[in-house]
């Protein structure tokens, strides 16, 4: 097999891994902070992509503003949903939160299908990022390199904010002991709303980055969240770093598998999850609680 194909596939794996990392990071933040499994995480990815597409087709807003505006919008939609619906779940058995987000996912997906059918819509690569570099062993499209770069930068920045800043400190405290943190004067309910917004905005950002690579359609992201499940089970949900590293690694692994054994490529992540559950149920980065 030519090196072009191998590295081409690895690049696809890296891109997917970068998106998995963003989605899993947002997912882990939401779960850590709110205790909610956001089954709709893939739907917010779709909303982010659609947001960019709509901005272009209805308002003439191009890629660069959309890169900021669409995730922002996605975050706002998320915060509205948290404030009105999701926050009602905190008092209940955690399962209801999962089922609510599942219902929301179906409803939102169905609504988009109603208006846009299931076919995909194209979104153009911005002019500045057209073309690519010929590295000899492979051809590296500019846009794809950009997508991976932005994803990794955002992941690391998010990690930094959470671990090293006072906002992150408040988030971590609220995650560990919400009631006591409130007794220290911190508005935890507002923090939860904000946290959910951030978690889904990350998914929305992945959506915008993905728009020029994959076509924009209501079905995108539908099955993505299941991969996210596998990633956070493998990575151990307590760890922000775990979600990022595992997302990237499993994406690359998926790409690698595509070159060696294409039929098993979409299953390899789940097989890894199966094995990790046998050997270290708490996850690679997790601790037994």
């Amino acid at each position: 097999m030519s090196s072009q194909v191998l590295f081409g596939q690895l690049l696809v794996g890296l891109i997917n891994g970068a998106f998995y990392a963003l989605l899993s990071l947002g997912f882990a933040i939401i779960f850590g902070l709110l205790g909610i499994i956001n089954v709709a995480q893939g739907t917010f990815y779709m909303i982010g992509a659609f947001g960019a597409w709509m901005m272009l087709n209805y308002a003439g807003i191009g890629y660069w503003p959309a890169l900021v505006l669409s995730p922002l919008m996605t975050g706002i939609v998320g915060m509205a949903l948290e404030k009105t619906l999701i926050s009602r779940m905190y008092r209940l058995d955690h399962i209801y939160g999962l089922l609510l987000t599942y219902g929301l996912m179906m409803f939102i997906m169905g609504t988009f299908i109603f208006f846009y059918a299931t076919a995909g819509h194209a979104y153009p690569v911005p002019d500045e990022l057209q073309g690519g570099y010929n590295l000899g062993f492979m051809f590296l499209p500019k846009y794809r390199a950009w997508a991976v770069l932005v994803s990794i930068i955002i992941c690391i920045s998010t990690w930094y904010v959470i671990e090293k800043t006072s906002v992150g400190r408040n988030l971590r405290a609220a995650t560990e002991n919400p009631m006591l943190t409130r007794a220290f004067g911190i508005n935890v309910p507002a923090l939860l709303t904000f946290g959910f917004g951030v978690g889904v905005a990350l998914a929305g950002l992945a959506g915008v980055l993905a728009a020029p690579i994959y076509t924009v359609g209501p079905l995108m992201g539908g099955e993505l969240v299941i991969v996210v499940f596998a990633i956070v089970v493998v990575g151990g949900m307590q760890s922000i770093l775990g979600a990022i590293v595992t997302g990237l690694s499993l994406g690359v692994l998926e790409g690698l598998t595509k070159t060696i054994y294409p039929k098993g490529a979409n299953m390899v992540i789940f097989v890894v999850m199966f094995i990790v559950l046998l050997i270290k149920p708490a996850g690679l980065f997790g601790q037994e609680k």
Partner: protein, 320 residues
Amino acid sequence: MSVESAHATEVRWAQWRYVDYALYALGLAALLIAPFFLYPLFLAKVLCYGLFACAFNLLLGSAGLLSFGHAAFFGAAAYVAGHALKVWQLPFEAAALLGTVAATALGLVFGAVSIRRQGLYFAMITLALAQMIYFMAFQLPFTHAEDGLTAVPRGLILGLFDLNNLYVLYYTVAAIFVAAYLLIVRITHSTFGQILRAIRENQQRMISLGYRVNDFKLTAFILSAGLAGLAGATKTMVVQLASTVDVHWATSGDVILMALLGGVGTLFGPVVGGVIVEMLQFYLADSGLPIQVVIGAIFVFCILLFRRGIVGELQRLRGR
């Protein structure tokens, strides 16, 4: 929460016994005469999904374990039974048995791995594992990928009666349904069922009392998987088709909705939920409205305002 009403159900069981017997007699009578008023094939299909929902609810209502991948068992059995009927030309009894065994074995493998984690992790793992089965359905030769197993022959039941006769078909399915339902009732009210509910209420306590909780949970999981498989195998015979839809995550979601709508933790609730969801899918199939919108809306509505489900609310009104 309707799960609590299952607790109360046991306590009041003795008092309401006669009313319940009457209701069950009524239900049985309805089951017997229904095919003369409604299309038997549709009824048979509804019974299959009703059984699927009851099997799922056995796990959730008693053990408190939310499996988000039950379609794996339903669909795996559907494929195995379909293959047995179509390619190996086995009689339906054998095909149903094989399907059920396949689902049970799958339940053992998946259960052993997922039981290790609790609550939400468990739900996520079951979904991920089921997704593996979904992908396999596209890869394995015998499943024929997107086409699925079509034109599956029905054959004879008991070597005598032609299942292509819709009345024979219906009564066969009804018999299977009643038998399986009674089994679920028996399990739920047995000591095993009580222990499961105790584990659901306070697992730590049961561990300290010396119960091997994981063994109980795994057993419940395997039972639930096997019964879901029975439903799937029977479904294949009824609709003469096994396809990737049967192993899709939306099917897992559908069965959760059936249990939720009907009443988690009640015995008859999932059947009611199954009837409603199947009817919904039937009527919405030709309308322009995507089924996901309706399913999603009902889910959200139930979670916010109607967690006890239909039968759960009725039980509450009865003072259970």
